[in-house]
């Protein structure tokens, strides 16, 4: 079976002043469908750059990024935006919910881009909120939620349009242990029960341990392949 993500000889470099920085160099990686992959590494190792490339937020200097067989490195900025709207759910470290919108309205944001009617949107939103355990908090604004709850709303926002790929940048980095564990369990459920492919960047070894596979990045190269967990 073809992997959902297939990265081939990707290099990303950019110029800062007179210096050229290459956070990723000739990197290759395959991620099968339904895998929960964690990327670890010190600051500046290139893990967030790689995550941004996989999510179609950034484009590589060279190489191919095949997602479900499509090379997204060749897409224009507008095409990438449309592609992200359909295929990617992004989970940020600091949740980044819109403060003036309720949990329901925040989760609704990705659906505003499509042609779904109000009742169809409502069904999907309530289903996503139920999945993250916040069905009873739909009317709450972010300021009325705890950090863990905010991240759950952010996850609901990331999955509401049913993307096959979820990318998470330090999703537990701003949470206490209990909330972090709960979020990691949720991500694991999404991968195993809902067949989402998840790529997560983390500094936290415990968070990394909850993934199916962990990769260590350093200076733009994979240096170690971690455990491979099997799930029932």
């Amino acid at each position: 079976m073809n992997p959902l993500i297939s990265i081939k000889s990707v290099t990303k470099s950019f110029t800062k002043g007179t210096t050229t920085i290459t956070p990723l160099e000739n990197l290759s990686l395959d991620v099968p469908r339904g895998e929960f992959l964690s990327l670890m590494g010190p600051s500046g190792s290139g893990k967030t750059t790689l995550l941004n490339l996989i999510a179609g937020i950034d484009t590589p200097t060279s190489g191919e990024i095949l997602i479900d067989g499509n090379d997204i490195a060749k897409l224009s900025r507008a095409q990438l935006t449309r592609w992200r709207a359909e295929h990617v759910g992004y989970i940020f470290q600091l949740y980044h919910l819109v403060p003036i919108l309720s949990a329901y309205e925040n989760v609704e944001l990705p659906l505003l881009l499509g042609n779904l009617g109000k009742s169809e949107r409502k069904k999907k939103i309530l289903s996503a909120l139920d999945l993250v355990g916040l069905g009873d908090r739909a009317d709450h604004r972010p300021s009325e939620l705890s950090g863990g709850q905010e991240q759950r709303v952010a996850i609901a926002r990331a999955i509401v349009h049913d993307p096959e790929l979820l990318v998470a940048d330090e999703p537990t980095g701003d949470l206490d242990r209990e909330s972090a564990d709960s979020i990691l369990n949720l991500l694991d459920t999404l991968a195993t029960k809902h067949e989402k492919t998840i790529v997560m960047v983390t500094h936290d070894p415990k968070a990394s341990a909850s993934a199916h596979r962990a990769l260590q990045l350093e200076k733009g190269q994979f240096i170690e392949e971690g455990h491979l967990l099997t799930h029932a």
């Binding site: 941004n52 999510a55 935006t81 709207a85 980044h96 819109v98 403060p99 990705p110 505003l112 881009l113």
Partner: protein
């Protein structure tokens, strides 16, 4: 519609900033609409149209009512000129010949011919018969009555003329709303001009295409007389006589232009602040799949809403102000009623909306032009 709702919610984030911006826009658009009202009122008073059939016969080379003195007996001569439908001799007494906001103008007319000459006059309080029966009776225009707090039976004095209010009138001619009609012989004596002398004759001709021929004939008739005349269509007479007022109103164009630029700068500044304060959030929305166009549209809607809400408050405020305050500009005995109009209201709202749109174009471009990764790291 979905983006409109999002943009409206965005405006409630920093309510103080939104309210201050809207208040600033409202002030600017109030000024703009006021200037436009003046321009429009002047345009209505001075621009000739195909329906114009009135001529004003004035003393040649005179511009102030106190210096234009014509013999009243010209009346019978003018009446006989072919094409003349109605003539009314008018004596004018005014408290201030210069351009002023509080002008009181007495128009002395033969009382029995007033209705025949000016059928558009309607008595809304008091009685026309009282006016006919009292030699010191006055029919006071509605706006003048409101300004001076006059009701039927009141006595009032101006320019040394004491009159009793017989009725309050309204008219389809805006200028009538700001004058007091009195008996001609009474005004001739009270203003010490003397019987038999009038300021001007207003002449109605059978059709507008006869205006030129009749005016030429009138001036030709009295050319060799001791009091030669200068006859012009009423609107041309207004445009040439009230030059001081016209120059003053002309100057206000610059104020209107200044108001437009102030609104433009205010909205642009507010929307730029909004955009700068939401760099990361804009990037988040783009990450979620919002296109640059969608983001730009949200920003533009916010700018247009600020302009439109402020414009609505300012323009409606200005229209209400002119409706209830009944301002009148006077010059050389002519009055210009500053009356609100639907066209000024609609154009004011259109300008406010256009300014909001224009002011938010650059911020909209700014919001979407930055690389996404850079914005996410901001």
């Amino acid at each position: 519609m979905k983006l409109l709702i999002l943009a409206m919610k965005n405006l409630t984030r920093n309510r103080l900033r939104s309210v201050l911006t809207i208040a600033g826009v409202a002030a600017g658009m109030f000024l703009y609409a006021s200037v436009q009202t003046m321009q429009h009122s002047l345009s209505v008073a001075t621009q000739s149209s195909a329906d114009d059939t009135t001529l004003v016969v004035y003393r040649e080379n005179r511009f102030c009512p106190s210096t234009s003195r014509l013999p009243e007996h010209y009346l019978s001569t003018i009446k006989r000129i072919p094409g003349v439908k109605e003539v009314i001799p008018i004596q004018i007494a005014v408290n201030n010949c210069g351009a002023s906001l509080d002008v009181i103008t007495f128009r002395g007319v033969p009382p029995e011919t007033l209705k025949q000459y000016n059928p558009g006059i309607t008595v809304i309080d008091g009685s026309f018969d009282d006016f006919l029966n009292r030699t010191d009776g006055a029919l006071v225009g509605q706006h003048l009555a409101e300004r001076r707090g006059l009701t039927p039976g009141d006595k009032f004095e101006a320019v040394g003329v004491n009159v009793t209010v017989a009725g309050i009138i309204t008219s389809d001619t805006p200028q009538d709303e700001n004058v007091a009609y009195v008996h001609l012989p009474f005004l001739q004596q009270a203003s010490r001009i003397g019987l038999g002398i009038v300021t001007q004759f207003n002449v109605k001709v059978d059709s507008s295409d006869q205006l030129q021929a009749v005016s030429d004939k009138i001036d030709e008739t009295f050319q060799a007389d001791q009091q030669p005349t200068n006859t012009r269509p009423e609107k041309a007479f207004f445009a040439e006589t009230a030059k001081q007022m016209i120059e003053l109103i002309g100057f206000t164009r610059w104020l209107g232009l200044g108001a437009v630029f102030a609104v433009l700068g205010l909205v642009a500044n507010a929307v730029l602040l909004i955009v700068r304060g939401r760099v990361k959030e804009t990037a988040i929305l783009q990450t979620l799949g919002f296109s640059r166009i969608a983001i730009g549209v949200i920003v533009i809607i916010e700018g247009v809403l600020l302009g439109l809400i402020g414009g609505l408050a300012g323009v409606i405020g200005a229209m209400g102000f002119f409706k209830f305050k009944a301002f009148t500009l006077g010059n050389e005995g002519l009055t210009l009623a500053l009356t609100p109009s639907a066209s000024v209201t609609i154009s004011g709202l259109g300008v406010a909306m256009a300014l909001g749109l224009l002011a938010s174009l650059y911020p909209a471009w700014k919001a979407t032009s930055r690389p996404l990764v850079e914005s996410l790291n901001a």
